[in-house]
């Protein structure tokens, strides 16, 4: 292959996977029996593109499979095939299958031939049922080609061609000269023009073609080669192609002298070009091979990419422009600085600060994707699962344009699926039960996303039966998480759903309740620096709120000192910082210290002990207690002092050193020292283990 098309394969995969999403959304929106034509057209186009691309990039299995889907969709759009629920479901399954095929191919893995085969049979059955109505009307092969192809094997002599273009041949951009040029590439061509149809000058339309030709092609060209030359014009001319008889072939070409010139001249030109073309191809082949070698490694790793709107990139470029202005301002100041210009320096530094912050914000935005990329899979899940459970469900999605960091988006997909499945399975009641409760038969599930004070909130809510407080309380007592005789708030009891092994589902169904519980959901959310809360009202429904950081790369932190070192506490987890008075400190069982804080007793964690810091404040009254919360539990962290609050960029400690309990990462401080970022939920766990 002269040109390496491998470099476009990634694009093909990306656009095809996007195309599948389009198909899926379109299929879900199709109303069986009353299908919207434009909707089918959109689905068809997506299938068509995938088919075209896969053929070009050499994924024949995909081409074959998509072809059947496309045929089915084509018949639907022409009204020849009914848009039945069954057909839609089969197509949806095919979309899934195709998605798997593409993902496998991208990862250089094999495809599940069996499943592909099965679905293909199902699709073909749908087509076959329809066959009598359609009839086998596929003319495909054109008549002249048939007549020429049915000739016996090509005689070595050549062909005689009567070519009479219709007057409008050139109106479609065709040109007899091009045809002659192609023919002369097949052998020695002589052309005799026929002027008989030329009208008087007054009636002549300069854009029409009035000439016809008698062509003789000497050489070993096959019938297919010759008809191929005329393929584009076969409906725009009268054409007869006959094999040369020996008598005619014997006639010396120079008898037709006057007409050879126009045909021969282009031939010479064409062959000269061919020579050039050959060299070009050779050059390309070399560079193509090099590229192929270079590309192979990254391709195998299936590199991921994001699409960024040009506006975002332009914004960054603008800001870099401003930064450069500030920089030149500063260097001008620095070149001959005097104390009298200190004001100017401060001004420029303020501007630099502003530029840096703006640039940071806009660079972050490049990594942000609308949450719709996750939300979009839910119509399908709700469609499938509600069908399986025999429930009627309406899904409302809002705020899908809210943008979140790409890494966060990738991590919250599965937890969200789990939450929605839970709502479908356990939350929403079956239609008859809903009617008994005086609710509408159709249950509602709402997905909502929004921005609030530097965080992203995602809500999954339903209008189902709500959490069963009694069952949770019982389970909590059985497992020892709750102590008998104490009063617990609804929040505390509802929070129990996030503890392992506390599923209250009576039976494990196909849909949810297979052991991967809400504890895993909470852990996944915490892994990306978020938290999750539940609110529920018996009989009215449940709402789960996930709070996520805008990004994983930067964090708002409170700097604190412990001995010689500086640590960072994530600002989001801080409730309050207090200076402890003696009456606030109690000792439980003579050993564990607790802080009396707003009517609660919180464990105190002396961080200098944990981290082995030297020279730290050890007297509780002399330092500060920072009350933090994680996993619904609060602890008081004992530190020497608070420094400022600032944004810090998070560096992985694991990648650069090793994992340290209680530490989430590290950052480089303004003075060049390393500051450790505390892992609050880790610290809470450590505290639990100690006590």
């Amino acid at each position: 292959m002269a040109i390496d098309i491998g470099q476009f394969v990634q694009t093909f995969f990306e656009e095809s996977l996007e195309g599948l999403d389009v198909m899926e959304a379109g299929l879900l929106a199709l109303q069986p029996g009353a299908a919207d034509l434009e909707q089918i057209n959109t689905i068809f186009r997506a299938a068509h593109s995938i088919k075209g691309g896969s053929g070009t990039f050499g994924f024949q299995a995909v081409t074959g499979f998509t072809h059947v889907m496309e045929t089915l969709l084509d018949q639907m759009r022409n009204g020849r095939l009914e848009v039945s629920g069954k057909a839609v479901n089969t197509l949806l399954e095919s979309v899934d299958c195709l998605r798997e095929m593409l993902v496998s191919l991208r990862g250089n893995a094999g495809i599940d031939e069996e499943r592909v085969g099965e679905l293909r049979v199902q699709l073909e059955q749908l087509l076959e049922q329809n066959q009598p109505a359609v009839g086998k009307a596929a003319p495909g092969v054109s008549p002249p080609q048939q007549s020429a192809a049915s000739q016996p094997a090509p005689p070595a002599l050549g062909w005689r061609i009567a070519f009479r273009p219709h007057p409008d041949l050139m109106h479609r951009g065709n040109d007899p000269v091009r045809i002659f040029r192609e023919l002369s590439a097949l052998g020695e061509l002589t052309a005799t023009p026929d002027y008989r149809q030329l009208p008087p000058l007054a009636a002549l339309k300069p854009e029409d073609c009035y000439l016809s030709w008698e062509l003789v092609l000497h050489g070993e060209a096959s019938a297919e080669d010759v008809t191929e030359v005329f393929a584009w014009v076969e409906d725009e001319c009268d054409l007869q192609i006959e094999p040369l008889t020996a008598a005619f072939a014997a006639a010396p070409p120079d008898l037709l002298e006057p007409s050879t010139a126009p045909a021969d001249a282009p031939k010479a030109k064409a062959s000269a070009e061919e020579g050039q073309q050959g060299e070009l191809v050779l050059e390309r082949r070399n560079s193509g091979e090099r590229r192929q070698v270079e590309r192979r490694t990254p391709l195998a790793a299936a590199d991921s990419s994001i699409r960024v709107s040009i506006d975002k990139v332009d914004a960054v470029i603008n800001l870099v422009g401003e930064l450069i202005t500030t920089q030149s301002m500063l260097s001008a100041l620095g070149a001959d600085f005097e104390m009298s210009r200190l004001d100017k320096l401060h001004e420029a530094l303020d501007q630099l600060d502003r530029n840096t912050r703006d640039l940071q914000e806009h660079v972050m935005r490049i990594r942000m994707l609308p949450v719709s990329s996750v939300f979009n899979r839910f119509p399908r899940i709700v469609h499938d699962v509600s069908g399986k459970l025999g429930k009627q469900v309406e899904l409302a999605i809002s705020g899908e344009q809210t943008e979140i960091d790409k890494t966060v988006i990738e991590k919250i997909g599965d937890p969200l699926v789990h939450l929605v499945r839970n709502s479908l399975d356990h939350g929403l009641e079956p239609p008859d039960e809903r009617l008994r409760q005086g609710k509408p038969e159709t249950g509602n599930i709402m997905l909502n996303a929004y921005h609030k004070s530097g965080s992203i909130f995602i809500e999954v809510s339903d209008d189902g039966r709500g959490l069963n407080r009694e069952a949770l309380l019982r389970k909590g007592l059985e497992s020892g998480l709750l102590k008998p005789g104490e009063e617990y708030s609804d929040e505390q009891i509802h929070d129990l759903i996030f503890y392992p092994g506390l599923s209250t589902a009576k039976q494990i169904s196909d849909v949810s309740g297979r052991g991967v519980g809400m504890d895993v959901v909470r852990r996944n959310i915490q892994d990306v620096g978020g938290n999750i809360q539940v609110a529920s009202q018996a009989g009215a429904g449940t709402k789960i709120t996930i709070c996520l950081p805008l990004t994983l790369a930067i964090l708002d932190g409170q700097l604190v000192t412990i001995g010689q070192d500086c640590y960072i506490i994530p600002l989001l987890s801080i409730i309050e910082s207090v200076q402890a008075r003696p009456e606030m400190i109690n000792r439980v069982a003579g050993r564990n210290e607790v802080l009396r804080f707003r009517g609660q007793h919180l464990p105190i964690l002396r961080l200098y002990e944990l981290f082995g810091a030297k020279g730290a404040v050890t007297d509780l009254q002399k330092g500060l207690l920072v009350v933090v919360e994680a996993d619904g539990r609060q602890v008081g962290l004992f530190v020497d002092d608070l420094l400022g609050q600032q944004q810090v960029s998070i560096k992985s400690l694991e990648k650069n050193f090793r994992r340290v309990a209680g530490v989430a990462g590290a950052t480089i401080l303004g003075d060049g020292r390393v500051g450790l970022i505390l892992d609050i939920s880790g610290l809470v766990r450590i505290n639990n283990a100690v006590s």
Partner: protein, 120 residues
Amino acid sequence: MATILVVDDSASMRQMVEFTLKEAGHQVMVAEDGQVALNLAQGASADLVITDVNMPNMDGITLIKELRALPAYKFTPILTLTTESTAEKKMEGKGAGATGWIVKPFNPEKLLATVNKVLG
């Protein structure tokens, strides 16, 4: 060499065709649907138009009809990108004024051979 207008809603196809033609020394204008292509064509002339048939907003057939109505594109070769399964579409393209077609799937060599055939 020549200026070629390439119209396809599939980014990979567009990139592949654009790259191949540019490697061969042609100037290439690209458009993701018929409407965009028509706007481009009104502002600049092309020696050849290669267009997909199935596209959102404006399909290839409508594009060809619109182009043929422009004086600058009256005789310009216009090729449709088509798959074998759509023999009717091939003819529909011709009916709208297309010069010929390139059958998908195609490789860069086939594309260049066809383009050279038309450009002469």
